[in-house]
Amino acid sequence: MAYGPHTPEDRAAMLEAIGVSSVDELFADIPADLRASDLQLPPPESEVELTRRLRDMAGRNRVDLASFLGAGAYRHFVPAVVDELLLRGEFYTAYTPYQPEISQGTLQTIYEYQSMMAELTGMEVISASHYDGASATAEAALMTCRATRRERVLVSHAVHPHYCQTLGTYFVGANLVADEIPLVAEGPAAGTTDLAALERMLADVDRPVAGVVMANPNFLGLLEPMAEAGSLAHAAGALFVAVVEPVSLAVLASPAFYGADIACGEGQPLGIPLAYGGPYLGILGCRESLVRQIPGRLVGMTTDIDGKRAFVMTLRAREQDIRREKAASNICTNQALCALAASIYLAAIGPHGLRDVATLGAARAAELENALAEAGAPRLHPGPYLNEFAVRVPHARAVHRKLLSRGVLAGLVIAEVIPDDPSLADALLVCATEVTTAYEIGEFAWALRDEIERGRQLILPGMADSHVADSQSAERTEGGAR
């Protein structure tokens, strides 16, 4: 066996001590008629072969394009110190700090994570940690129902679609209701949550609302009227949940500032690799009064019997191993190592560095906006944004695809993720961060102008749809796109 220490002699000695003559005897409890058929799997591979295979597979991913893709997961610079420390076996091969006397490393780093996230969000209590932004948002919404003993939440249509869908899955299961708040269709607030609609929905006395969930920046990159929305929610006796992006909190108003009761979001931008979607970090925090509703681990400061300062898991009566069916959630294994990554990242980059990261992203995004507008792809919405925005591109899907072969990953074809919203058809969601270069922006704009130009020349009025259909069937045969 690849990593085991047992020699044939070791095995023989153990069998003898047990008093059996073969390992098979130890499996006697498995009923004979239920024993497994042979494993139809390949033979073992040595590390030489394995590394060759893995290197080849990794090489079949293309990560060398100039990428403007964000949409909930962001390319950021990660200082080298982060991974070197994460690779310390003492951190990554330990587990939940059940024995605090020999887990102070994990415990103190979790406490520091809680503290730093509390600073960023302004929340009093941060739990460490949840699976990702989507499940943290679902848990946040569930919290509002437990806290208010109401059964309905309102979720903005501009919350990340994956979060909305996950929340929906969790809510269906729990026999709770999640309704969608529409967006403003036109005018200066286009693309942000429709506050008038929200007010109407909150006014439905037969269906009292436990919580209102909105994202800032929202999925389309736009800044939302969070303070106003929070006031409306509170006026209706509902809690207000802010879905936030942690890097942006270096410069944007914090959830506490605009009165959110719960903050949640995706921690990936804090030093965690993109890795095709995970492991990421679900951020979840709340006001002090909600502390007994919050799911997940909490570490507190205390002393040992000698009076030395020390850290320990606390308020565990919310957790499944103690509370079982009455627990705040079933979460057990969490994303502690990702929380550690976020802590090291934040400490390494520092508050001023984080501000620079957020601001540089905003600066590059403004350059990108100008370059794309000149290339013929103006913004779709007029409102303020930080570093991500939607642009209108005729035949977005086809153009996006063409740009791939020119080395540009032109953000997200929004219709592929939100297929049912006509206002978002023919739009790309693009983002810039501190690692986006002027050269990449130039390449994108140049190639885009060229493709838009060609599109104008080739596609006569009325042909647009069939063109899209064509490109879809082309995709099918190449097995590529969604």
């Binding site: 690849a2 024995q99 994990t106 299961g173 909190l249 550690l340």
Partner: protein
């Protein structure tokens, strides 16, 4: 300070001085944010620590050394399977092609990862004897929720709305009842029989047209194979309910028992247990779910599909309408699954079976050695772990399992899981795993023996243990009564810094 001096240190906040750190990111143009309305901006920056990289590094290096970990010693934490985490897996997950791939990357840019995910699904399906596997759930508990939501969807799809209960044996892990609640079901607890298995009569009695599913952990949390599994499954299916297997202990039975073949309808895997991905101080893991034919339509979106031309793609939104939907963003904890894939390939069919054989062998060996030192309530062969108990010791000496555990720390070992499962008094759940050398197993048993002697000769030594760790027993009561959950500069309430 590693090799000398006091080993506790200040927090990052106490190490912070205004103006320290920096040098990571170029400075942005000054007026960049002027285009954003000022009420959207933060008035004051967050009060994050400002430390230079040398201090930062020492902080985390020294903290790490306060941890006990698999990489430093024997960690027989029952039910958690603290096996060796191969280093090549860490290397693999960090390959740029894997690590830098955006989750919304078009399929054609993601063929390497998509193939890997697809292959992991095939391997897991074969190991479990299941029809298909989803890799999305982020941990075992989320896998449970996914599985039970599929059960719910299945019954509803048949118009069967009466099934509101989930049966859970009393020895089950806390996630099982918690999951049932999250999925809107009432939990019915089933008692254990004296042999540690599920009490078949009680079980049959609890089954009814209200039963949506039964969640069985097999091998159970007592480390025992459920020998009446055939009868149990027959009864479940006869009642029109579905059988969920909590597969967290699959590491004991690979190549020996395939749950799907035996009749389970759905199960989850814990890749951070069975397939050696690191526990990360609490996570991340991954909790794939395997299903049989019945639940196939309900798998969460998106699945990974292989086209006839051999290329791979993710399911598109709306492509499979019966699905329970998403349980998280994007495709899953892919970085964890890369590690699992490396483990699967390194072992192959023969190696995986050997993993289970060696895990069971080591556990039975330890059990044979611990018998006579502590109580060992179940005498039949165990699987990958076994329960011991200090009940007799406590009766004789007043020494509790907690004291034994704390004293093990002084002997250089991580204690086993204690007071779980709840059905055994003064329980210690001991799981040696397949990657521990015989000498290590012997040394641990020897330590237990010495501790039992000490319990008689010098009980105070145990009451006050541990003695050699960076801190000693903690004041957990104050921690809970006056929770201090975040650093607050300059308030009277917080504890003094040790410096």
């Amino acid at each position: 300070m590693t090799a000398a001096g006091d080993r506790l240190g200040p927090t990052l906040f106490e190490r912070s001085r205004p103006g320290r750190g920096g040098g990571k990111v170029p400075h942005p143009p000054k007026d960049t944010l002027s285009r954003i309305p000022s009420d959207q901006l933060r008035a004051e920056g967050p009060n994050l620590p400002e430390v230079a990289e040398p201090e930062l590094t020492r902080h985390f290096v020294n903290l790490s050394q306060l941890n006990y970990a698999v990489d430093s010693g024997f960690y027989p934490l029952g039910s958690c399977t603290m096996k060796w985490n191969p280093k090549v897996n860490e290397w693999a997950a960090r390959l740029t092609g894997f690590a830098s791939l955006h989750p919304f990357a078009p399929d054609e840019l993601a063929q390497g990862t998509l193939q890997l995910l697809w292959e992991v699904e095939q391997w897991l399906a074969e190991i479990a004897g299941m029809r298909a596997v989803t890799l999305q759930p982020s941990a075992g508990a989320q896998g449970e929720l996914t599985g039970i939501l599929m059960v719910r969807a299945y019954h509803r799809s048949r118009g069967d709305l009466a099934r509101t209960e989930v049966l859970v044996p009393d020895s089950a892990h806390g996630t099982n009842p918690a999951t049932a609640s999250m999925a809107g079901f009432a939990t019915v607890s089933i008692p254990s029989a004296p042999d540690g298995g599920v009490d078949l009569d009680a079980f049959r009695a609890a089954l009814s047209p209200k039963t949506a599913a039964v969640m069985i952990t097999n091998p159970s949390t007592l480390g025992l194979f459920e020998s009446r599994i055939g009868e149990l499954l027959a009864a479940v299916h006869a009642a029109g309910a579905l059988a969920y297997m909590d597969g967290a202990n699959l590491n004991a039975i690979m190549g020996r028992f395939k749950p799907g073949e035996a009749g389970f309808d759905v199960m989850h895997f814990n890749v951070h247990k069975t397939f050696s991905t690191p526990h990360g101080g609490g996570g991340p893991g991954a909790g794939p779910v395997g299903v049989g034919e019945k639940l196939l339509p309900f798998l969460p979106v998106p699945r990974v599909l292989r086209e006839p031309d051999g290329l791979f793609r993710l399911e598109r939104p709306g492509e499979r309408t019966a699905s329970i939907g998403r349980v998280r963003s994007f495709a899953g904890n892919t970085g964890v699954l890369v590690r699992a894939y490396a483990y699967l390939r390194a072992h192959g069919a023969s190696g995986l079976r050997e993993v289970s054989d060696d895990a069971v062998l080591a556990a039975n060996y330890m059990k044979s050695q611990v018998t006579g030192v502590l109580d060992v309530p179940f005498s039949r062969h165990c699987m990958h772990e076994f329960v011991a108990s200090s009940a007799t010791l406590k009766a004789q000496t007043g020494i509790r399992t907690l004291d034994v555990a704390k004293r093990l720390i002084d002997y250089g070992f991580h204690p086993p899981t204690i007071y779980f499962p709840l059905t055994v008094e003064e329980a210690l759940l001991i799981e040696p795993t397949e990657t521990e050398a015989l000498e290590t197993l012997d040394a641990f048993v020897q330590a237990l023996r010495s501790i039992v002697d000490e319990a008689h000769s010098d009980p105070d030594l145990l009451h006050s243990a541990p003695h050699s760790s960076p801190v000693r027993r903690l004041d957990e009561a104050t921690a809970a009564r006056q929770p201090n959950l975040r650093w607050r500069p300059m308030t009277g309430r917080q504890m003094p810094c040790p410096d």
